[in-house]
């Protein structure tokens, strides 16, 4: 990869890593937990598929932003 690609790639990966952490990591309290935000699982699955299937660097570059989380949640 060229030096020019690296910052763009780093930026995209950083965004994916951020969303992956916020939706998938972090404390969940057993017992009284109320994960009442509908669609978290769906978004999570969507992201995992996206990350797992990052087939080419181009496709990673195409992820301008985290695509339509809300739509995914409702879909």
């Amino acid at each position: 990869m060229t030096g020019q690609d690296q910052p763009a790639l780093a930026q995209q990966v950083t965004l994916l890593e951020l969303v992956d952490r916020v939706l998938n990591k972090g404390v969940v309290l057993s017992g009284d937990i109320t994960l009442s935000v509908a669609g978290v699982d769906l978004v999570y699955v969507g992201l995992r598929v996206m990350l797992a299937s990052v087939g080419t660097l181009e496709r990673l570059h195409d992820l301008e932003a985290v695509p339509a989380l809300e739509e995914a949640a409702q879909g």
Partner: protein
């Protein structure tokens, strides 16, 4: 309804922060821990890009204020203060253990991508038996490479978590809990790996709040 951003060792003062839906972030003291949370009437906050980024921002600011922070996963909500207290009480010991573990550390992320053509190498090999053998060599080589990269960094971390998919372009995805004083050493080690593996795209992200090391000791989280 109470929406939780993070659990903390009680800090002297919480910075002034705006949470989901423009609600102020408050400090609630529960079972010897401080909970950063906001109050909401009616429906819990909906999942949205803005909400995810707001949550991340609040946790980031709390961490930046010098407190020892266990980030909550997006969507951790409780009907009222009593429900929150019960849940924190029930997990107090694990939470304290997790706080002790992340104290003085940051989380660094790592993703390693293979060059594009690598995934298809086995497919062009001739014949079924040869395909399987090539495929096996490739899988073994993937595994070896992922292990080499991870081992070189895990030794510099207090704790780590990683996954190495058996196929696809993502070779390694990992998180490392690194002491503040060792961050530069860690980054140097990443650069050394980059130099010795110019064919790989190695992306080190962070420092992050310790999302990946907050949940594992806390009951749930399938």
């Amino acid at each position: 309804m109470i929406y939780v951003y993070a659990l903390m060792e009680p800090p002297s003062q919480l910075p002034e922060l705006t949470g989901l839906g423009e609600a102020p972030v408050e400090r609630l003291d529960v079972a010897g821990l401080a909970v950063a949370a906001s109050r909401h009437a009616g429906e819990p906050p909906k999942l949205s890009d803005e909400g995810v980024l707001r949550h991340a921002h609040v946790v980031e600011e709390l961490t930046g204020s010098g407190a020892v922070v266990l980030p909550a996963r997006f969507g951790l909500v409780f009907g009222d203060g009593e429900a929150l207290e019960r849940a924190v009480q029930a997990n107090a010991e694990q939470l304290r253990t997790a706080i002790a573990r992340v104290r003085g550390c940051v989380e660094l992320g790592l993703r390693v991508l293979l060059p594009e053509q690598a995934g298809g190498r086995a497919a062009v090999a001739q014949g079924g038996g040869e395909y399987l053998r090539a495929r096996l060599r490739e899988t073994t080589e993937r595994d070896r490479l992922a292990r080499e990269l991870h081992d070189a960094l895990a030794g510099l971390a207090r704790d780590s978590t990683h996954s190495a998919p058996v196929s696809g372009q993502l070779l390694l995805s990992a998180a490392y809990l690194v002491a503040d004083d060792d961050v530069e050493t860690f980054r140097r080690a990443v650069r050394t790996l980059e130099d010795s593996h110019p064919e790989l795209a190695i992306v080190c992200t962070g420092p992050w709040p310790a999302y990946s090391f907050a949940a594992s000791t806390v009951g749930a989280a399938p």
